[in-house]
Amino acid sequence: MAAITDIPVAKSPEPPTAIELKHRRKALRSQILRYGLLSLVGLIMIYPLIWLIGASFKTNAEMFSSPGFWPSEPTISGYIEGWKTSTPYTFGRFFLNSLWIIIPKTIGTAISCTLVAYGFARFEFPGKKFLFMTVIATLLLPNVVTRIPQYLLFRDIGWLDSFLPLWVPSALAGDAFFVFMVIQFLRAIPRDMEEAARVDGATTLQTLIYIVVPMLMPALISVCLFQFMWTMNDFLGPLIYISSVEKYPVSLALKLSIDTTEAFAWNQILAMSVLALAPSLAVFFMAQKYFIEGISTGGVKG
């Protein structure tokens, strides 16, 4: 923000002249205007989130009666009741399910994307151009198009109502976006270090593990973060493949409370939504530094 501050600093002890004062007042006015406008727009953007958090502490009756976000009678009953859910399971179960989907999927993505990207970025092999075009083509293909064939495939294999349809495609580098991102990142890294490792006697796999992966770390952290957040928020995938409530992740469980109650307990839904946001936010802030580095060096917008 230092660059925005353009109020002239008086270097000499002499009293400022009239023109100087005029300039300073002008600069101050424009600064107030700029910050005011930015704050206002920022507030508009973030208001739904603030309201969500505020409303989660409101009673159901108060929810739609006052537009403000500050609860008149703060209560945590929404959290307590919401956590219990209308099913035999608590929300804790759904969080565990979510983690059980996310963690293997993220690890699988990181490993498979690294291997595939390393192959594309560093080796020459027959059909490379065609295969790379296929990867890019899947990147451009809308997800929805593949839903039905994929569903039929997994049904025939007998994987329905298990986490396998959510894990396996990612563990086989099915997320073309991540592959592409890592390839771009790798292309920007000079090959000299890998050549030095080969001269030092490293095999291809040793070069990958000891030299390439550490240099790829910022990109891999971004990949993991994206995958974490997208999987956490994924609704359609679990909705299609998972049918028993005991395997529901958080995203489905939230919907569940809307379905099963006649008079919606909005404060419970909102309270659980706040909790559902927490893991993504926490992970993002913890890894923010690497995340930004990864996106900007990878040359891919998030």
Binding site: D192, M193, A196, R198, V199, G201
Partner: protein, 375 residues
Amino acid sequence: MAELQLKSVEKTYGNGFKAVHGINLEVKEGEFMVLVGPSGCAKSTTLRMIAGLETISGGEIRIGENVVNDLVPGKRGIAMVFQNYALYPHMKVRRNLGFGLQLRGKPKAEIATATDEVSEILEIEKLLDRLPKQLSGGQAQRVAVGRALIKHPDVFLFDEPLSNLDAKLRAAMRVRITDLHKRLKAEGRPATVVYVTHDQVEAMTMGDRICVMKDGHIMQVADPVTLYERPANAFVAGFIGMPEMNLVPAVLTRGIGAQLTLDGQTVDLGDELARRLYCQDGPVTLGIRPQHLGVAPAGSPDSLTGSVTNVEFMGHEVNLHAKVGSATFVAVVPSEQFDRATQRGDKVGLTVSGRHAHVFDVTSGENVSLKGQIN
């Protein structure tokens, strides 16, 4: 340590471009061989083929007794120092040095001893716990040399290792590397070195022998003195030496001595040159180093009269540029012998020292004035 042999080594790229045209080169055990040439002459490609980082399209590379054509770099008994150091950025200096030994499964104690020994030789003991990004260019270069040294390779390969350093540091590192080579020799473990550079000063000061390359061909392999005094062709003559040798078209006629005619002016370059020649009379290229041209008053006997086009004052000497007909000559004259009043456009006489003159064939560029000379 071992000798290195290249036999008819070729490199053709996938797009059909032939970068290296069947070169033959022998580097003796413990020899410091410098590959030098302008950019694009395939000197780095040649080095990378020796290292195994590029495949070869034909011929044979031999290190010691072994043909290494199909061996991976790690099995060739080589170590390489890269132009931009190529230190592993995420490893501390200590691990950078020991990484090669670690991959070979050497015990930790042995790696530690070797690391200490090498860091003492290169005076990098204090840097062992730093990351590469915390090193200056010169320090990083020393670590890169250390990483090669620690492996006791049969052949050391250097790929323009000093080109990223400033002039002062480059001079210091030059001395350091040659000292290291001598030290290893004195300790009874001579190092065979192949050193690639585009800088002729590095080539002349460091190499036991120098291999001058152009467009994937070897132009001459010789020790620095031979290369300077008896260049095999016009390319080597022009490439080695500062300022570069004057190469001008002339017509040769032989009477008692060797007369060269240039722009209607004829100079006699004497018997000594005539005896060295093995070519027909007719058009040739005259080669004379700027240091072997004398400046005399215009019209002096046996001098070429030209007009001054530029005068460069270099301190202890002056570079005088003069045009004789369409040919431009550069003469290096000691400052104290130089007439400071000389100006652009003045007429000046240039005397050619026949003993130092070279005559090159016009078409092949071959030096045809080396008869009876040991080369």
